[in-house]
């Protein structure tokens, strides 16, 4: 074929994202419900899903706000969780074409799932597949959030429903694959960053957070736990 990608690339990305989009839709519902339960209102979670478009960071911000943390703490926690997008962006950068707006659009629609779908192996990424998959996942995430905030109120008392335990459960579900697989880490950081340092960072992070909880305002222990990532510094050579 003279033109191997083109329209087909976008459609391929969108189709490949559909099975994941079902899960993302459900994930979006839980975000809408939980964000509403911590008093974020109905509109803000939807706007955040459309603009920030990053699950774990949005849940972290909601969790910090729900615990009474300040705006600064919530923002820092969310942005630290999104720091991983810096290296992900670097991996796709050489394959993007077009001007500033096109690059910004690709960057915005790059989430873990669309990044993984668009990977063609050997350090190659297909920007059309990335865009198609990103659009599918974005729609599912925003739609799920809308459903969540629409029906969240009907659910009743968040504590009676055990929604406070849903937060840590969700973070555990996000953490588990990061400990399980080292595929992503090796994709851009070389084989020396494998499962063990991630498990060490996780245990250290949890310990720092628990130790600081009695002495610092809400949210601060979570940000300080990020210091555990500095063990990655000693891993040169």
């Amino acid at each position: 074929m003279a033109e191997p990608s083109g329209e087909r690339g976008y459609r391929h990305g969108l189709t490949s994202s559909l099975p994941l989009s079902v899960a993302v839709f459900g994930f979006g519902i839980s975000y809408g419900v939980l964000a509403l339960s911590v008093g974020m209102g109905a509109l803000a979670p939807v706007v955040m899903s459309a603009t920030t478009f990053a699950g774990s960071a949005q849940f972290a911000a909601a969790s910090v706000l729900g615990a009474g943390g300040s705006a600064t703490t919530a923002i820092l926690a969310a942005l630290m969780l999104n720091a991983r997008y810096l290296p992900l962006g670097v991996t796709v950068a050489p394959w993007l074409e077009g001007g500033l707006w096109s690059r910004l659009l690709h960057a915005h629609l790059m989430v873990d799932e669309s990044w993984a779908i668009a990977a063609e192996g050997q350090g190659r990424w297909n920007p059309r597949v990335l865009l198609g998959a990103g659009v599918g996942i974005w729609i599912a995430w925003v739609a799920g959030t809308i459903v969540g905030v629409a029906f969240g109120d009907a659910l009743g008392d968040p504590s009676k429903l055990g929604l406070d335990a849903a937060f840590p459960a969700l973070f555990l579900a996000l953490l588990a694959p990061q400990l399980r697989s080292q595929e992503r880490a090796t994709a851009f950081a070389g084989p020396r960053i494998g499962a063990p340092p991630q498990a060490v960072a996780a245990l250290l992070g949890a310990a720092i957070a628990l130790v600081l909880t009695p002495f610092t305002p809400a949210g601060v222990p979570i940000i300080c736990a990020g210091a555990a990532c500095l063990i990655g510094l000693g891993r040169e050579t």
């Binding site: 972290a60 290296p87 840590p168 949890a206 009695p214």
Partner: protein, 103 residues
């Protein structure tokens, strides 16, 4: 209300900056090795901290309550490769059930 919107706007702009730094600023250049080594570990460290705080913290106190059972049940569900929504529902249901039984 204002606090929430500040968080929404600043997090949104900051996230796009992080995502776009590679494609717009760095072009095709790679990150320094040391930086990427550190950045890959921020996620696990913060997520584990969020699990710990969400399970044991009540304000500034550390407590053991019904949430522990909910999170333990969630761990089992994750082990069985349940979808995230199922994991969340299991955790909430077990916690709510434990509270209903005790209180």
């Amino acid at each position: 209300m204002t606090t929430v919107w500040i968080v929404v706007i600043v997090t949104g702009v900051g996230t796009l900056a992080l995502k776009a730094a590679g494609p717009v600023v760095l072009g095709g250049r790679p990150l320094p090795d040391r930086l990427s080594g550190v950045v890959t570990l921020v996620g696990p460290a913060l997520l584990a901290a969020l699990v710990a705080i969400g399970t044991f913290a009540e304000g500034q106190r550390l407590v053991v309550d019904a949430r522990v059972l909910g999170v333990a049940a969630a761990a089992v569900a994750i082990r069985l490769r349940a979808p995230v929504l199922v994991v969340v529902i299991v955790a909430a249901a077990v916690t709510a059930g434990a509270r209903a039984l005790v209180g």
